[in-house]
């Protein structure tokens, strides 16, 4: 059976989710086509979850514009949707003389990027804020508005708002090919043909492949860049308030130490180029290196236990900037190579794409009184469900996930279809015991709900 939409978005990563929301609120009939069983299963699955100000983004880049517009919109909508923010701020730390010499230029870049509230800090001033840093530190500067958010509930909320207001989502639905007849696209999927006036390529790690498939060519090539992380337990998160950044090098932003919104502490990511677009392999020696690196920055980390590991793939290309292109002859927009700031920029990128579509002639009429979803609050700096009456008891003890939270997730319109999806939404089994206590109980709960084993 074929269906007709105004816009078909290919890919339910954070970018696709945000675009779906923007266009739906703009009055378009939208479908999101996602090849994986779950949303957020590509690049968006694993990141550092920092809401960037863009202080270190390339000057004059589209990336910078999208990050800053995205930041503002996140601030504007997070209250209504019950999305968290931890305004911890970042410190850019100099450990050597050379690094110290580069701080002024980095601050200058921040000013020019419109991030004017950065402040230089002497060694003493830095230790007053972060007493657990390695004493060899020389100087730093502070970026007060760099913040932490929930990398799951935010994109989830964007897509949910689209769905609540009329958009459709097809999972397990890879786009295998497509034809543009001068007015409409017909996209081929295993679940039938999908017709749409416009197509948005938000295929992340497959952005170039999808352009080749639909347009016969791509103006960029994705070079997946892997980032590995080690995560420490809640106690380690007490060791620092700020996002601790190194002075970047030409090739990488370097290893970050920061808390997560859930009150753990992460060290990472690495930046490793690879061909494989699917698998982000963890490597023992690299994980050891991250552990050591973390303990160089915060010596007390030496004594802390690593509680979990993960790795993600950035959709990097040969270009530094985002590759957002309109294809006017074929009613298509490619939103490619959203490399390492997509979580921050998503809402801004979506607004930008909305404007590009309008230029292509897509009509907009904003919805009046759109429905706004309310998300579960999993942030450690907010009141959690385990502290409230009627929570039905705790399912996962390490991350203190309640049965009420678990059941809400299972009854959500975007309910997970797998253990992994459940885990990402609730954080159950993601804590220090890694399922020792609740692993089987969680599986039992999912079995009762008829969720597949994966």
């Amino acid at each position: 059976m074929s269906k007709t939409y105004d816009v078909a978005i290919v890919g339910a990563g954070v970018i696709g989710c945000a675009i779906a929301r923007r266009l739906t609120l703009g009055g378009a009939r939208v479908v999101v086509l996602e090849k994986a069983t779950d949303i957020l299963d590509g690049a968006s699955k694993a990141n550092s979850a920092i809401l960037h100000t863009g202080f270190d983004a390339p000057q004059g880049s589209l990336e910078l514009t999208c990050i800053q517009e995205g930041y503002k919109e996140y601030e504007a909508l997070r209250g209504q949707m019950n999305l968290p923010i931890d305004r911890c701020g970042a410190l850019v730390l100099a450990w050597t003389e050379e690094q110290e010499a580069r701080l002024p230029a980095l601050m200058e870049q921040a000013y020019e990027n419109g991030v004017e509230d950065v402040t230089p800090l002497s060694r003493t001033e830095t230790f007053a804020l972060e007493p657990n840093l390695n004493p060899t530190l020389r100087a730093s500067f502070r970026v007060p508005r760099e913040s932490l958010i929930d990398p799951w509930s935010a994109p989830h909320a964007y897509l949910l708002q689209a769905l609540l207001n009329g958009a459709d989502l097809e999972r397990d639905c890879p786009v295998l090919g497509g034809q543009f007849d001068g007015r409409h696209w017909t996209l081929t999927t295993p679940r039938g043909d999908i017709q749409a006036s416009y197509v948005i390529n938000a295929a992340g790690l497959y952005g170039d492949k999808l352009d080749q498939l639909l347009l016969g060519q791509s103006s960029f090539k994705i070079h997946p860049r892997k980032g590995q992380f080690v995560v420490f337990d809640k106690m380690a998160a007490r060791l620092t308030q700020h996002i601790l950044l190194p002075v970047p090098t030409e090739t990488t932003k370097g290893i970050v130490v920061c808390r997560t919104i859930w009150g753990n502490l992460l060290v990472g990511p690495t930046a490793e180029e690879q061909e494989d677009r699917e698998t982000a392999n963890l490597d023992h020696d690299t994980l050891e290196m991250l552990r050591t690196k973390g303990a160089e920055i915060l010596p007390a980390l030496e004594r802390e236990e690593v509680t979990s590991l993960y790795a993600g793939l950035r959709p990097a290309s040969e270009y530094k900037d985002y590759q957002i292109k309109t294809h006017p002859e074929t009613n298509m927009v490619t939103v490619g190579a959203i490399r390492s700031t997509g979580l921050s920029s998503a809402l801004g990128t979506a607004a930008h794409v909305g404007r590009l579509l309008a230029e292509l002639g897509q009509e907009t009429q904003s919805l009046k009184d759109p429905d706004v979803p309310q998300m579960e609050m999993l942030a450690e700096n907010q009141t959690r469900d385990w502290q409230c009456p009627g929570n039905q008891g705790i399912l996962c003890h390490c991350e203190k996930v309640t049965y009420r939270e678990a059941i809400a997730v299972l009854n959500d319109p975007l309910a997970p279809k797998s253990f992994a999806g459940f885990k990402r939404r609730t954080r159950a089994t993601m804590g220090r015991c890694q399922g020792f206590y609740c692993g089987q109980t969680v599986q039992n709960l999912l079995d009762q709900k008829g969720l597949e084993h994966d």
């Binding site: 080690v230 995560v231 337990d233 809640k234 106690m235 699917e278 698998t279 392999n281 963890l282 490597d283 023992h284 690299t286 994980l287 050891e288 552990r291 004594r303 236990e305 690593v306 509680t307 979990s308 590991l309 993960y310 385990w386 502290q387 409230c388 009456p389 009627g390 929570n391 039905q392 008891g393 705790i394 003890h397 390490c398 203190k400 253990f419 992994a420 220090r432 015991c433 890694q434 399922g435 020792f436 206590y437 692993g439 089987q440 109980t441 599986q443 039992n444 079995d447 084993h453 994966d454």
Partner: protein
């Protein structure tokens, strides 16, 4: 416990063998109100899901399976008049025996004139070991495997590898074999297996190859485990399997202690106690695996019982003040040989103060033969790692009454 009762003579945190035996003994000794708080749905602790022996020998001179043992302890506790509150998690420990608990009712504060901490221990996860590869399903600890065996219709795999050769590793092996699972191999990084065990339980007798000097480095598979890469004496190799069981490497379930700023021993990762089982924070006692990773259930049961006597003495005002001076054991020939020793402090003795820890419990992290110095005394030992070693407590100036 009536819903409104918030104050108790003694509150016990954790309903494993240590917590329940203490609670039963407290009632037997005439303590008025004893509440056991347990975060799981049912009381009994780890033995609830251990579908195997040996349990019960020390306690009742009977060989039992874990679930029957857990039921009996729970029933004995209820019969003795102990209140047990399940699905109630202790989330913070505060001064003077005030504890914060979370349950369906939200947060509440309960107060015990004394509080016994018996939260047990857990195994080390794959993540803590920094094992590389992907994160498919089918990777777990022994306890999780046993939870599947005890409470699920399906087992999570058919042909896993078992990593480790501690006592609990053989529990994993037995649980597998009695549930239609044939492990692909048992792996041990060292040159010999860690535990002593009866020969009828050898992996070979169970049809499972044992690879010594073999380390797991990578786990492969997208959804379910498909294989693991190991490095053995003859280099890297791939083993086909559909699961990985990480066994042992027990560590105290100490997060509650850490978040409540209790002083921990960096060797045992448990709290620092004196010979009465007291920590520094007034009103708090400890027993069982929270003290040191792992002991047998019988040992923990006995420890709970003995600490109950000290708690009663404490309630009656018969315990001398706790010393703030720690003692420790030093191996003369090695800085690393000693993993931990407990108790970590010796308080003064007193005529009416029963001693729960009348021996120094020592555990090695490496094989060691040589002298161990405790205070002013020297002992000669020779032992393998992870074995229970008992030495006399350093002399104390007063006489004291050891418990059986």
């Amino acid at each position: 416990m009536t819903d409104t009762q918030l104050n108790f003579d003694v509150i016990v945190v954790g309903s494993g063998p240590a917590g329940l035996s203490a609670a039963i003994e407290l009632k037997r000794l005439g303590v008025g109100s004893v509440l056991v708080v347990e975060r799981e749905k049912h009381a009994g602790g780890i033995p609830r899901h251990c579908l195997h022996s040996p349990y019960g020998m020390r306690e009742w001179n009977r060989l039992m399976f874990g679930p029957a043992y857990a039921r009996r302890l729970t029933q004995d506790a209820l019969k003795a008049g102990v209140d047990i509150h399940c699905e109630t998690t202790v989330t913070a420990l505060k001064p003077d025996g005030e504890i914060e608990v979370s349950s369906n009712a939200g947060l509440q504060t309960l107060t015990g004139r004394a509080v016994l901490l018996a939260m047990g221990a857990r195994e080390t996860s794959r993540s803590a070991l920094l094992i590389g590869g992907t994160k498919p399903k089918g990777v777990m600890n022994t306890a999780t495997l046993q939870n599947y065996a005890a409470f699920s219709d399906d087992m999570p795999f058919k042909r896993p590898v078992i990593v480790g050769t501690e006592l609990v590793s053989f529990s994993a092996l037995i649980t597998c074999r009695s549930h239609g699972i044939k492990p692909a191999a048992m792996l041990e990084a060292n040159t010999r297996i860690t535990t002593r065990f009866p020969c009828y339980l050898t992996p070979k007798a169970m049809g499972v190859p044992l690879f010594l000097s073999t380390q797991i480095v990578q786990i492969h598979g997208k959804r379910q485990v498909e294989a693991v890469t190991v490095i053995g004496p003859s280099g890297p190799d791939t083993l086909q399997c559909d699961g990985v069981i990480f066994t042992g490497g027990f560590r105290p379930e100490n997060a509650l202690l850490r978040s409540s700023d209790f002083d921990l021993d960096s060797g045992s990762l448990g709290p620092k106690i004196d010979q009465y089982g007291r920590v520094r924070e007034p009103g708090y006692f400890c027993a069982g695996n929270i003290l040191r990773g792992v002991e047998t259930a019988g040992w923990c049961w006995n420890e709970g019982r003995k600490v109950a006597h000290c708690i009663v003495a404490g309630l009656q005002g018969n315990l001398p003040p706790r010393t703030q001076v720690d003692i420790s054991a030093q191996a003369s020939g090695s800085d690393h040989a000693i993993k931990f020793s407990l108790p970590q402090a010796i308080s003064p003795s007193a005529p009416k103060a029963p001693v729960a820890f009348d021996k120094l419990q020592l555990r090695l992290s490496d094989k060691y033969t040589g002298n161990v110095v405790i205070g002013t005394t020297t002992h000669r030992i020779s032992s393998k790692p992870e074995r229970r070693i008992l030495l006399p407590l350093p002399q104390s100036p007063f006489s004291s009454k050891a418990l059986p």
